[in-house]
């Protein structure tokens, strides 16, 4: 297995396998210095650039607390003080997730963040937002209280109106729990991961009035052409 380790950069070799081809393509698209950069452009030193990562942190807290209460069970997180703590942590981390995500969206919208070949980054952000709404919605309808019943019975008319009520029955508690804890969070994590990788590939979007000197990170001169809008 020596042919796979002879090229230090990981990209300067002729692959003979699909794994080798995939590796070379990956290394060309996202070399380590792009994947885990040492420096960022100077304009990143602004609070508005913090909200994307805050959104991800809130999502991680929501996922971890969600896994904990799922493993603990309904009786545990409704009755024990520790369970209630994790239940509340799950709820409030979701509130913060959406709050941070909306501020992130506003910041990127007014920055026209789709500039510089970043259309796919923007599109995956839109998809992540819509998927998160689905995760949040299924979370609300499984809280087994009057609020959940109200939301579910309002939403069932919407689902029936668009023709998916037969297969996506929002009044079916078991189905909503399944959607909330397995497929939808997985899809969300995959989309967010793609979103972050695209940000790494193209770099964070510069402010509209950024000058070229600002737009170039000290250790990423190769990014110059991609920063230009």
């Amino acid at each position: 297995m020596s042919h796979g380790t002879e090229a230090p950069a990981g990209a300067d070799f002729e692959p003979t396998t699909w794994t080798g081809s995939a590796r070379r393509k990956w290394m060309r698209t996202l070399p380590p210095e792009k994947m885990l950069p040492e420096h960022q452009p100077s304009y990143v030193a602004s609070w508005i650039y913090v909200f994307g990562m805050l959104t991800i942190v809130a999502m991680i807290v929501a996922i971890v607390s969600g896994v904990v209460i799922t493993l603990g069970g309904v009786q545990w997180f409704h009755e024990s003080s520790t369970g209630k703590f994790f239940n509340s942590t799950h709820y409030w981390s979701v509130q913060l997730f959406f709050l941070f995500m909306v501020v992130h969206l506003w910041g990127k919208y007014w920055m026209a963040a789709w500039r510089g070949k970043r259309a796919l980054t923007w599109a995956t952000g839109v998809l992540a937002f819509l998927t998160a709404v689905g995760v949040g919605f299924t979370g609300y309808v499984i809280t087994t209280n009057f609020n959940a019943q109200w939301i579910a019975f309002e939403a069932k008319d919407v689902m029936n109106a668009v023709g998916v009520g037969a297969v996506f029955n929002v009044t079916n508690l078991g189905q909503m729990v399944t959607f909330h804890v397995a497929p939808l969070p997985l899809v969300l994590v995959v989309i967010v991961a793609a979103h972050v990788l695209l940000v790494r590939k193209h770099g964070v979007v510069p402010p509209i009035d950024a000058i070229d000197h600002d737009a170039v990170a000290p250790a990423a001169e190769t990014e110059t052409s991609e920063v230009a809008s």
């Binding site: 990143v44 609070w47 709050l99 501020v103």
Partner: protein, 54 residues
């Protein structure tokens, strides 16, 4: 111990602008105000460490 000045265990109060379609619950309105405030503060507050090195 109840740390909240406002009870969250009851239906929310709604605000409506006259007889118009503009209708918002107080909790949602508060969240919108917080988001707008965060957005403005994120633009105007200086970032620790300045802009020399990131």
């Amino acid at each position: 111990m109840n740390l909240l000045a406002i009870s969250l265990d009851q239906p929310a109060t709604y605000w409506q602008l006259g007889d118009s379609w503009i209708l918002v619950s107080v909790p949602n309105f508060i969240m919108i105000v917080i988001m707008l405030a965060l957005f403005v503060l994120a633009l105007v507050l200086p970032f620790p460490g300045g802009k020399d090195e990131v």
